[in-house]
């Protein structure tokens, strides 16, 4: 598995965990009757901050752990495998395209809740839900392209 693949896998796991956390919190709010704008927007902030911070730390951790494993395996000086070649860039672009596509559909579906007479809070909750889901589907498509080739 290349460094880029490891990075995508780590990002996928992160976003699945973030989605799990988000869904649990939303259901807890709905059940506890605290599904209001203050709590929803605070959750928005937490999810976005988590996504940024965890991604940064996970990338650094992946670098360090793969360098250590490589050094143990080959008994050579660890070197950073951070080159992103033309295939990595193409796969990344295609993954981003998938992410944007899912995110656009999600945005559209979220707006439809207004048509169904739902309050804006539902729209905002769905918007961040689809944002995270889009990232997950984008990462899955990247992994698929790495495995299958194109």
């Amino acid at each position: 598995m290349s460094f880029q693949e490891k990075n995508v896998t780590v990002s996928l796991v992160n976003f699945i965990l973030i989605l799990g956390f988000y869904l649990i919190r939303v259901f807890q709010m709905i059940q506890g009757g605290s599904f209001n704008s203050t709590n929803v927007f605070r959750l928005w902030g937490i999810v976005i901050a988590l996504a940024v911070l965890v991604t940064i730390f996970a990338t650094i951790l992946t670098h360090v752990v793969s360098a250590v494993i490589q050094a143990i395996k080959t008994k050579e000086e660890p070197r950073l495998e951070d080159i992103q070649d033309e295939r990595d860039k193409l796969i990344d672009l295609r993954g981003t395209k998938v992410t944007y596509f899912v995110s656009s559909i999600g945005g559209f579906l979220s707006m439809l809740t207004f048509v169904l007479g739902q309050p804006p809070l539902v729209m905002f909750s769905l918007l961040i839900f689809f944002g995270v889901v889009a990232q997950i589907i984008g990462d899955i498509s990247r992994l698929y392209l790495y495995r299958r080739g194109f």
């Binding site: 290349s2 080159i83 070649d85 033309e86 990595d88 080739g149 194109f150």
Partner: protein, 72 residues
């Protein structure tokens, strides 16, 4: 025009270059070993520039490394 695909002789050419490894070739042309594996398997068609760089490493013309054949 029939359907065609890009084939390559990289594996054979590596063998005749003192059994050059995929990693060595990858380092010489500036890509990852995974990209060389994908090209060899025919899962990825390289850019024209990368194709020329691979041919340069083997000191062979492009047509000797890559061919554009009809699919069977």
């Amino acid at each position: 025009m029939g359907k065609r695909r890009i084939n390559n002789n990289i594996r054979t050419l590596r063998f005749f270059q003192n059994e050059m490894t995929q990693q060595q070739l990858a380092e010489k042309v500036g890509v990852t070993r995974q990209t060389i594996i994908a090209i060899e398997k025919g899962n990825y068609s390289p850019s024209l520039e990368l194709a020329f760089r691979i041919a340069l490493v083997f000191g062979a013309p492009l047509e000797e490394v890559f061919s554009y054949d009809l699919e069977e």
